[in-house]
């Protein structure tokens, strides 16, 4: 089971309290009635499904109830970071480098 840090509650809680909500940073077209079938497929059905770094939404459904985003590795299932909805994609390379530096300083 995953341990997930909710950026609103500022607490690490078990996966049981959360619901995964698919890819993050997908913007619903404002002119949804006018877009072409290709654009609708792109918006509605096509997802990244990466082997490696994924940006995804989670909802703390049995907690604060709010949506937030996470950067996670889909091979190791490790969370790099979680961040509030509306914030830009974090720089995962910088996060990893920060951890390495911390490790070296020790």
């Amino acid at each position: 089971m995953l341990l997930i840090y909710c950026p609103y509650c500022e607490e690490e809680r078990s996966e049981l309290e959360f619901r995964n909500a698919g890819d993050a940073h997908i913007v619903r077209p404002a002119n949804i009635a006018e877009i072409s079938d290709e654009e609708f497929e792109e918006f509605f059905f096509l997802r990244q499904n990466p082997k490696g770094l994924i940006f995804e939404r989670w909802r703390h459904i049995h907690g604060c109830g709010r949506f937030f985003n996470a950067a996670r590795d889909t091979v190791s299932d490790r969370f790099y970071t979680t961040y509030k909805a509306g914030e830009p994609k974090p720089d995962v390379a910088a996060i990893l480098k920060g951890e390495q530096d911390k490790g070296a300083a020790r």
């Binding site: 995964n20 609708f40 059905f45 096509l46 499904n49 082997k51 889909t74 299932d77």
Partner: protein, 417 residues
Amino acid sequence: MRKYSVFAVAREALRGHKGWGPQWASPEPRKDYDVIIIGGGGHGLGAAYYLAKEHGITNVAVLEKGWIGGGNTGRNTTIIRSNYLYEESMDIYEHSLKLWENLSQDLNYNVMYSPRGVMMLSHNIHDQQSFKRHINANRLYGIDNEWLTPEQAKAYCPPLDIAKNARYPINGAALQRRGGTARHDAVAWGYARGASDRGVHIIQNCEVTGIRRDESGRVTGVDTSRGFIGAKKIGVSAAGHSSVLMEMAGVRVPLQSQPLQALVSEPLKPIFPCVVMSNSVHAYISQSDKGEFVIGAGTDQYNSYSQTGGLQIITHTLDAICELFPMFRRVKMMRQWGGIVDVTQDRSPIQGITPVPGLFLNAGWGTGGFKATPGSANLFAHLIARGEPHRLAAGLTLDRFRTGRLIDEAAAAAVAH
């Protein structure tokens, strides 16, 4: 290929079983092939077998990054049935079931197909309405499926608890008597042996790292961990990794890869005569010929390639099993594992041409790919050989997510299946 028969077994018994050879060859890859199939699971090996057997195309290689049958073919719960709701689904799964019935004879390899019956439990009025709709649709289409009262269900599967005050009360069941199980490893090995005998190259430990295309966009071959291998046509049949491979050819596909877990118990004497599935409480169980209970759990909620899953998922399944079959409460579980299933949004598979000339896709079988193995392989071979889908797989196109012609088994079953 040496034919397996009772006489061969008797002869070898007298010679101390020293005369058995390898079941398939492990050749060095050629520079190029007419067809390369990526993915050495049941679907891929079967497609190679049918390409050679039914379409006369033998200059074929199956590339497998690990060992054959080591992915989802070796990780499923071996359930076979064809009682789906929509015609597109019934077509392909029934085609598959008919091939299962004669597969051991066709391959000269005992795949241990056992039509012991698949019983789906109904727990509430919604289940009942949905199942009866399935039964009526199936029977109108010529597929067997019948409704059982709780007492009839108990008679068919005696360990079942049908008490009115049970935690998950049962108000009936749908039974497909021709459904059942088969031995998953034997399916991969049998197809590999049959394909290899007809000249197909089975190349293990050969991971595809790129798909090359010429100026016109047509595929020319694949880069692999064992160098470049040319191909006129490429079939992708790689389950959870299909979207990774399609990305190499620049094609985005509506697939999500998620862990799906299964587990087996310690072996017991024969006690469980059929396959029982409960969609509402999400548990399915059968007993293997070794005596182990084979139990399937649900998918995890997040995308992952980790081939593991959360413990809470299998705990939930075992909770349900213990309620449905109270006599199994003290059975110990022996092994647990996860496979990576590729799930489409409408929970129906994708088998068809792609925007890239020469590249064919067989994916999206999600949580139910094993039962489809012979049918899918047979029709995928047809697709690769002819360049257009067989009538029975014509609806499973990749572009249905653009045209809107979805085959919405997800809504029909309301769970992964």
